[in-house]
């Protein structure tokens, strides 16, 4: 096996040249926080790192939009925006690990507050992408409301380094919340699901509603006021409003479960991301736990999105995919130990032919991200 050439372009022009002037297969990498997600990449001739494509291109505080190079870590971007009382409203677990905004989009990652703010697909309003031959194309624009042309930023949301390089993104921003508070109710997943239903039926509009580490966590955002008290009353005397330190610790613990044990060689467990209707998620997770030895559970009781950690055994993971598929859900393997050959994906979606056709149109030589959607394409 030949050693891949590593290219680290510092501008759009250099990135285009990196693609246009090379041949062979290309693996796009960002900060590497999700390098072991989705299908295992095949050995590539060129590794194209986005980590030098960084920095804000233009921030319009009055319009609440920002254009940024894709290799910028979201943590850094949000620190800069915070000065203006603004943020990109994504709380994906790996933001704090240094994930780039482009990487977060390419992996369709999302955190608990996607419940209210949506996923990054809802926050990206424009993109500059680069095809495998170096062609630069733009989609969307710099305004939050825009229906001109196809919304091709959606095409790279979840592309995992196939189809095109994400070079620049334009994002809509949200104001920093005036205050954030969290109420915790210790209980089983099944009991918490009931409690979550009551919260969602109430007018309190929680921004996150997750079960992890044996407790329901409900987060509220907005001007400080009566909301947390109302929530605590709703959940009963066992519920407790967390102080600032406890709140931070609780959500950090949640994020740690989502991130999983990592891909260190001695670890033999893998993280599976699961999506199922909220009403079905607790039962799916219960079955994953009892039948397949799942641990490290987080369950979005309003979003239906959860994570579990499973033995990194191909058979176990394949059964987990089938189980989720069986209730109409979707699943994808995230971090797993090096050399783990467990299947990253379950049964192919019905639109797989469309996906193959899109790939044939955009990257006819299949240069980008080979292996990421194995065995689908």
């Amino acid at each position: 096996m030949t050693i891949a050439t590593v290219l680290r372009p510092t501008s759009l022009a250099e990135a285009a040249a990196a693609l246009a002037d090379t041949t062979g297969s290309v693996r796009i990498v960002g900060a590497g926080t999700a390098a072991d997600w989705a299908g295992s990449p095949e050995p590539a001739d060129v590794v194209l790192s986005t980590t030098a494509l960084t920095g804000v291109i233009v921030h319009n505080p009055g319009d609440m939009t920002v254009a940024v190079r894709a290799g910028t870590p979201l943590r850094e971007l949000n620190a800069m925006l915070a000065v203006h009382g603004q943020r990109v409203a994504s709380d994906a677990a790996r933001v704090d690990l240094g994930a780039t905004i482009g990487g977060l989009v390419a992996t369709a990652d999302a955190g608990p507050s996607a419940l209210v703010y949506g996923c990054l697909r809802d926050l990206v309003i424009g993109a500059t992408v680069m095809l495998a031959d170096g062609t630069v194309a733009r989609t969307g624009g710099h305004v939050i409301k825009n229906v001109a042309g196809y919304d091709l930023a959606k095409l790279v949301h979840g592309c995992h380094g196939t189809l095109a390089l994400i070079a620049e993104l334009v994002l809509r921003l949200h104001p920093l919340p005036g205050a954030t508070s969290t109420v915790r109710l210790i209980g089983s997943l099944a009991d918490s699901a009931e409690a979550a239903r009551a919260v969602l039926a109430s007018p309190l509009e929680p921004v996150a509603c997750e079960w992890s580490n044996g407790a329901l966590l409900v987060r509220l955002a907005g001007t400080p006021g009566a909301l947390p008290a109302r929530l605590a009353t709703l959940l009963g005397s066992a519920a407790r409003r967390l102080d600032a330190a406890e709140q931070e610790a609780a959500w950090a613990a949640h994020a740690a479960l989502v991130a999983g044990p990592g891909s260190r060689p001695h670890v033999d467990r893998a993280v599976l991301r699961v999506g199922a209707r909220p009403s079905r998620l607790p039962a799916v997770i219960a079955e994953l736990t009892s039948e397949l030895g799942a641990t490290g559970v987080t369950a979005g009781l309003a979003t239906g999105v959860g994570t579990v950690t499973l033995p990194a055994d191909p058979d176990v993971v394949a059964r987990a995919h089938q189980l989720v598929y069986g209730v109409g859900g979707s699943s994808m393997l995230r971090s797993r130990p090096p050399g783990c050959v467990a299947p990253a994906w379950g049964p192919a979606p019905s639109a797989i032919e469309v996906l193959r056709a899109v790939q044939a149109e955009l990257d006819p030589r299949g240069r980008l991200g080979a292996g990421r959607f194995h065995p689908w394409m």
Partner: protein
């Protein structure tokens, strides 16, 4: 007239029943245009399927015979997106209008494409839920059409557009195959093809089943109507509200002419003669909503608000919205004819674009009324003209120039009405050849034969003449915001 060969016609008769295949010219005429009535084409046939299976079967007949098809919902679109093709068929989705499921626990609804936007909320209301996107035509427009256009509405500043609320789509592709895009949650199995399909204006296939998210009805809603001595002052209020970290459910602005028209039509209680009126609506948990509303009132007063009317009850709130929502149609009261535009500018450039529009109107001797979603910079300039006085061409030109001005100011040709037939030829003002070619490649991936709604969204030589020659720098490029390699 009919250019459909007999075998194909028999194919349609077979899969739909002959009584559901319209070929009578008089009946075909009622499908000749959508809400943009300036463009009219009589299709060869109109097909009236009742089920998704029939839609797929009809599309298979089209594919077999190379017949183009245009999907049509209620026909309320304002960009000619449902304009028929003369030698093609129109597939009307009006008979697929069942609400298949409302699930109050998972807070979603599953709908056939012909269900109207408002019916979704009606079906969800008994559970304290509603469907957020609310285009002005919500009483009649269909969810299938909303999907095609990625429709917005007055409340999309806070709640987003159709794309933010659709979880899954069952789609009939151009070859008649049926696929599902998206799923029960936002977790994706690969690229977001659902999101690509949303807003594709019928050019990638026909949605036959739509799964949407439902939201809980907010605990409190507060609405105010405020008059200002100038459009600039009203614009500053909007900026201050946003800068204050408040995300209103809606912020709408109307100028003198639009107010005059709306009052003539519905007497909603707007003040005649004021330069600008703002409608601001907040919603959410009661205390939160109340606190923010007090701040909004203070901001209005700080900018010289000349009248502040707060809706005391649901009836007064409805009156304020009636005035706003009637503005389009009401313009008919003050002008025999009008064109509606739909450009978007960054919110901070609202005052600038309005004064430029005013100057442009004056220069060609036409009046322009303005109604717009001030919170997100989406303008709806109404170019008033009199066709009988030979003003049509001038008005059409002014209207196109306004859309292109929005692009020049860093915005977009369309915020919610779509490109359709109307603005396809303006697309090169906003997108480069490479951008458009990429869109073309995606279209080819979905529909290699070009059978789905041809001639819409993307400029074609047939529609626009040869592609514009020499490349002109995009305004953002000139400003150094984007670079062209």
């Amino acid at each position: 007239m009919t250019r459909i060969d007999a075998t194909a016609q028999r194919g349609f008769d077979r899969v739909l029943g002959a009584e559901n295949v319209i070929s009578d010219r008089a009946r075909l005429r009622s499908y000749e245009c959508d809400g943009l009535t300036g463009y009219r084409v009589i299709p060869a046939l109109v097909l009236l399927p009742r089920t998704a299976e029939q839609v797929a079967a009809a599309v298979r007949v089209c594919a077999e015979h190379g017949i183009t098809f245009v999907a049509r919902g209620a026909g309320t679109g304002l960009s000619g997106g449902a304009l028929p093709v003369a030698d093609g068929v129109v597939i009307s989705l009006q008979r697929l209008r069942r609400v298949l499921a409302v699930d109050p626990v998972d807070r979603l609804a599953v709908l056939e494409p012909g269900v109207t936007n408002l019916e979704i909320t009606k079906a969800a209301a008994p559970y304290g839920l509603y469907y957020a996107p609310d285009p002005s035509s919500q009483q009649v427009c269909t969810i299938g059409g909303n999907v095609a256009e990625n429709s917005g509405g007055a409340h999309c500043l806070k709640y987003g557009f159709t794309t933010n609320h659709v979880l899954a789509l069952e789609v009939v592709l151009a070859d008649g195959s049926v696929v599902t895009l998206g799923g029960d949650t936002t977790e994706q199995l690969g690229p977001d093809l659902r999101g690509v399909f949303l807003g594709s204006e019928g050019t990638l296939g026909i949605a036959t089943k739509v799964t949407v998210r439902l939201l809980r009805t907010p605990e409190a809603v507060r609405t105010l109507l405020a008059d200002f001595p100038s459009v600039a002052a009203a614009g500053e209020v909007v900026s201050d509200i946003i800068a204050g970290g408040i995300v209103p459910a809606a912020v709408e602005m109307m100028d003198t002419l639009a107010i005059e028209a709306a009052e003539a039509a519905v007497c909603a209680g707007y003040t005649l003669g004021v330069p600008a009126a703002l409608v601001v609506e907040l919603d959410g948990p009661a205390q939160e909503c109340h606190n923010q509303f007090e701040r909004v009132k203070a901001i209005c007063e700080a900018h010289g608000c000349t009248r502040l009317h707060i809706a005391a009850d649901a009836e007064e709130r409805a009156a304020i919205w009636r005035g706003r929502k009637s503005a389009f149609a009401a313009v008919g009261r003050i002008s025999p004819d009008y064109f509606v535009q739909d450009g978007v500018v960054p919110r901070t450039r609202l005052a600038e674009v309005l004064s430029r529009i005013g100057e442009m109107g004056e220069a060609v001797g036409l009046r322009v009324a303005n109604v717009f979603h001030a919170g997100d910079g989406n303008l709806h300039p109404l170019v008033l003209y009199d066709a009988s006085a030979g003003e049509t061409a001038r008005a059409e030109k002014l209207s196109a120039e306004i859309a292109e001005l929005c692009v020049e100011l860093g915005g977009s040709l369309s915020g919610e009405h779509g490109i359709g037939t109307d603005k396809a030829c303006s697309m090169p003002k906003m997108f480069s050849e490479a951008d458009l070619e990429l869109m073309g490649r995606v279209r080819d991936a979905f529909d290699p034969g070009g059978l789905c709604n041809p001639g819409k969204l993307l400029p074609t030589p047939r529609l626009c003449g040869e592609r514009p020659g020499k490349y002109r720098p995009h305004p953002l490029e000139a400003a150094g915001v984007i670079e062209r390699l």
